[in-house]
Symmetry: C2
Subunit: 451 residues, 2 copies
């Protein structure tokens, strides 16, 4: 369950041009003091009660392997925008700074830092694009997957999203994030190999279509995979169920098919009919899986309606987080050379200085967070923990089982209303410490004066 | 402007488990006749009037480089689901079949095949996941980008989406697709290097924050980049514009700043104020760029309102295609062993047999398409063209400029109403040939009889 360091997604060149133009100006002017940058998001939006922090391992692998290749340096040289001095600086650039982060699978809320990086300003600036990119997508999908798993109320959920994710990396990281959030497996073989995840899946409509008739297809497939799941809706769902029952009659004791899958139509009603038919044929042990256009709202409705469904295969909605395909993750300068910094832009103001999130607990329930200065000595759990010091990990990459258990425990500690498909009010209580608010006011007043 | 063959996105293992279980059953039973599979989408949905076909080069690179590595074969062996015979078959599996495809940048519509693959059934089955994945995302983003470029009405549009795309591959392929659709450049350096795209970008808020005051930051940045764009909204947008004017006063003739950028607030009103202030100061040549949460609807409103904006930086909405983060791309078996096949599932029925799209033109406007059998001798342009024969390309990878020009010409040939942010009725006329409809009816009737 390790992340290998290879492929385009690991290119240190993955940054925006302006990070390089700014870094060059900093290096030229000797503006190379230490900076702190923090990653956070501003708004949950109406459809999310919490976010699970994801993507830390992806971000760390990239960061600790940061090194521009000769090809990449030559490309930059060819643009005629960069000086030899800066290209030499870039050639030697490695991450030797510090990282503090919230462990993956932790519930986080608006304006709470998930990650803080401390490094010389020009280098820290270059990291923005990749740090946001890595944390954003895996947090987005881990959160979506957790909502779907919650809606399924203990029934199995598996990831079928590989084909509609936004690229291969997206599919593969979505599988990892989904597993942490409680999915039972993925259909994506690259994710299975890379992260050691359970792989799942049986047959597609094309298999049935390749045969002259459905019963022949079922008979043949079961001869290879006696404990398989049979897909029954290629032509007519209930006729497909009758073919399963017919096959059970043919095979007698040798019939060990585990489940049928319904992938189209009104799956709740079809599942109820199929259940009745299977039970009447003595096939109570055959489970019913459904798939096709499912999301947490649809699944919650099916569960509430008592549809006799044992498991859900979820694809597109999961891996593109269809109702919320992005969150406004940002990476902002919070200190330079020991001094707090902020941004005052309309609707996008930031809190100055290195921060910490202090979480209060009542038994096994989380009751509220305070965002304060990193050095404020507050009660409660400190969410941000040291992860890298002077370019070296001080916390090992944890097994995915540990992360998955954290995600489970965090969700069960949340107010129940926040886990619903349409989260209830009030939201989770997050306050900003008086000290931090006073500091922000002081800095904004100073900037107004200078203008 | 080539696609290098390296990285995780090129792994031949990128497939769903069920493709492998089905392939193993086919190989074991000698069901290895030739199959045709087609990629298409079923529904445009209410927010799209057309789709531009994308992702072909990505798909071909993967397909023609298909080869499972020793590591991957060992992983598959470790799962104890696959026979030695099948693993040997997989070790030797290479693509030696045919591909017909619609050229990238071509406008396509519901149920029209974008790509057809002909290969032995077990091999063709393995390709499903990657073929959909590659074509889906690039078509999605190319279409979204085209809508944004159209809304901008000739003003510059650039891609700033790298940080919020779903991974690095997504960001990089989004940049390529956006450029084909008419964007002027991207901020993403990996895309710049890989595809030879123009790279754009200047400064972020953090640069301004790193200095004691905004004017000092502007002065310093301009000393390095005299023709830069200055970001004016770090603290207060109009105060930022006043600092630009102050700097122009200090520098006199040496002031060659090209533009200002506004990234927050009511950008239309702020741009109008900024324009008035700049003009009053004799800075008519300084352009105004805006960014921050823009999509085609917002841009169309700004343009309609006559906001004095010269260019738009678009990020998240573009690369995640926020209003439509997926299309229902599918890869379906249409013939096996020379016989047409179809799927009859509720709401997901397919058209049988290898197909062609025949497009009618009236001068330089496209007037309607007919989906017919590949061998129907119909008038009009045939959209699907031979691309690969017996595993070898018969059409070279075209320069991106050519693809970009095709995308432009295709859009200008569409009914104008289909290019609006909210596409007007009626949709583009697509009909199915009588021959094809009769064939579908004949096959469905036969399956009903067999059931």
């Amino acid at each position: 369950m390790q992340q290998p360091a290879s492929g385009a997604q690991d290119s240190a060149l993955f940054t925006d041009l302006y990070e390089l133009t700014m870094a060059q100006a900093y290096v030229a002017d000797g503006v190379t003091g230490t900076a702190d940058f923090e990653v956070f998001f501003r708004r949950l939006g109406p459809r999310r009660g919490y976010v699970l922090a994801g993507g830390l391992e992806t971000a760390l692998d990239w960061l600790l392997g940061f090194r521009l290749s000769t090809d990449e340096l030559e490309y930059l040289g060819s643009l005629e925008r960069f000086t030899d001095r800066f290209l030499e600086w870039l050639a030697d650039a490695r991450f030797t700074g510090d990282v503090d982060a919230v462990p993956e699978g932790t519930a986080v809320f608006e304006n709470e830092p998930l990650l803080r990086i401390r490094a010389p300003l020009p280098f820290a600036q270059l990291l923005e694009t990749r740090m946001i990119n890595a944390l954003h997508y895996e947090s987005l999908v881990m959160t979506k997957a957790a909502r779907i798993v919650d809606a399924a109320g203990g029934r199995t959920v598996v990831d079928f999203g590989a084909r509609r994710a936004h690229g291969v990396d997206a599919a593969t990281h979505a599988a990892r994030a989904s597993w942490i959030a409680g999915c039972a497996g993925t259909s994506n073989m690259v994710a299975g190999q890379r992260f050691g995840l359970p792989v799942v899946g049986t047959m597609a409509h094309s298999y049935v279509e390749a045969f002259r008739d459905e019963l022949t297809a079922f008979r043949t497939f079961v001869s290879h995979y006696p404990r398989t799941t049979l897909l029954v809706d290629t032509y007519d769902t209930l006729a497909g169920v009758r073919n399963v029952i017919r096959l059970a009659g043919e095979l007698g004791e040798a019939f060990t098919v585990q489940a049928i899958r319904i992938d189209s139509g009104d799956v709740g009603t079809l599942a109820a009919h199929a259940r009745t038919m299977l039970d009447a044929a003595g096939l109570e042990a055959v489970q019913i899986m459904v798939s096709g256009g499912l999301d947490e709202s649809r699944i919650a409705t099916l569960v509430d309606d008592g549809a006799p469904i044992d498991g859900f295969g979820v694809g597109t909605d999961l891996v593109v987080s269809r109702d919320l395909p992005s969150l406004d993750f940002a990476y902002k300068l919070v200190t330079y050379d020991g001094e707090p910094r902020l941004k005052g832009s309309t609707g996008k103001a930031t809190l100055p200085g290195a921060k910490q999130v202090f979480r209060r607990w009542d038994g096994d329930r989380m009751t509220g967070d305070t965002i304060g200065g990193a050095r404020e000595g507050r009660d409660g759990e400190s969410l941000l923990q040291p992860v890298v010091r002077q370019g070296r990990r001080v916390v090992a990459c944890e097994p995915l089982d540990t992360t998955r258990e954290r995600a489970r425990a965090q969700r069960s500690a949340l107010p129940d209303r926040l886990r619903l498909p349409a989260p209830g009010e009030p939201g989770y209580p997050v306050t900003v410490s008086h000290e931090l608010e006073a500091e922000a006011e002081r800095l904004l007043a100073r900037h107004r004066q200078v203008q």
